[in-house]
C-alpha cells in the first residue's frame, strides 16, 4: 500500500474530484457540476476526463462506489465517496498546496496585480 505522499502532487482533476467528494457522496454529473462551480468555471471536466479519473482513483483506492443511493434519485446512477485513504491523500495535497501558497506569499507574489510597482 502506498503512502499518501507517494501520490503527490495530484493532477488538478483528481484533487478537485477529491474535494468534491470530501463532504458527501456524489454521482458523476454532480461531481462535474461541483468542480465547475467551486472553481468558478475555471476547471470544466467532461464525462471522458471525469470517468477516466474515477477509474484510476478507484484503482488507487482513493474513492469507492457505494451501493445505497438517495431514494429521490435515479437508482441507475452510480455514487462515489472518499475512502479513508483518499481523505488522507486529499489532506496531504492540501498541506502541500498551502505550503506552496505560503512560499509564494513570503516572496510577495500573492499581492493583487495593481499593487505591483
Amino acid at each position: 500500500m502506498k503512502t499518501p505522499d507517494e501520490l503527490l502532487p495530484l493532477t488538478p482533476a483528481v484533487f478537485h474530484i477529491l474535494l468534491a467528494l470530501a463532504d458527501e457522496a456524489r454521482h458523476g454529473y454532480a461531481i462535474m457540476s461541483e468542480v465547475e462551480s467551486a472553481t468558478g468555471g475555471q476547471l470544466r471536466m467532461g464525462p471522458g476526463t471525469l470517468y477516466g479519473s474515477i477509474k484510476r482513483m478507484i484503482a488507487a483506492g482513493l474513492i469507492e462506489e457505494i451501493d445505497h443511493r438517495p431514494a429521490s434519485d435515479d437508482e441507475r446512477r452510480r455514487y462515489y465517496r472518499l475512502t479513508p485513504f483518499g481523505r488522507k491523500v486529499a489532506a496531504a495535497e492540501s498541506r502541500r498546496v498551502t505550503k506552496l501558497a505560503s512560499m509564494a506569499r513570503s516572496k510577495g507574489l500573492t499581492r493583487p496585480a495593481f499593487e505591483k510597482g
Binding site: 458523476g28 454529473y29 470544466r44 467532461g46 464525462p47 471522458g48 470517468y51 477516466g52 441507475r76 446512477r77
Partner: protein
Amino acid sequence: MKRAIEISVRTYRRLLKLYPQRHLAEYGEEMARCFRDLCCDEARRRGIAGLVAAWGFILRDLVGSLIREHRAEGRKAMNRFGELMRRKISDEKLKELGAVLSWYGAAAILYGSVFKLTSLPLTEGQLVIGLLCAAAVTLQMTMIGLLLRPAAESRRVTKLDA
C-alpha cells in the same frame, strides 16, 4: 429542443464506441447519462446556443480522453502480454530446462574428456572402460532428472490449488 437533445445523446453514444471496450462496458452508460444531464442543463440555460457550446466542450474532452484511455489500455495490454509470457515460461520450467542443459553439458564435457584421452597412449580396453563410465554417468544423471520431475510437478499442483 427535446429532439435536439435526443439526437445529441444518440450521436454521443455512437462516439463512445471509440473508447476501449472495457472502459465502455464499465462507464459507457454513466458517461452517456452525464452527457444528457449536461445537454439538458445547457439547453435550459442558453437554448440551442448552450447545446452547441456543450458539443464544443464535449468534443475537446472526447479527443483528449480517447487518447489517454487508449494509451492506458495499450500499456495494460503490453503488461498482460509480458505477464502471459512470464507465466508460460514459468520458473519451474526454466529450472527444468537449466537442469537438463547442465546435465547434457556435463555429459558433453565427460565425453570430450574421454575422447581427449584417445590422444594418450591408451589401450583399447581402457578407452572402452572410459566410454562405459561416461555412459553410466549420463544414465545416472537422466535417472536423477526423472526422479526429480514428479516432485516439481507436485509443487506446481500445490501452487495452483493455493
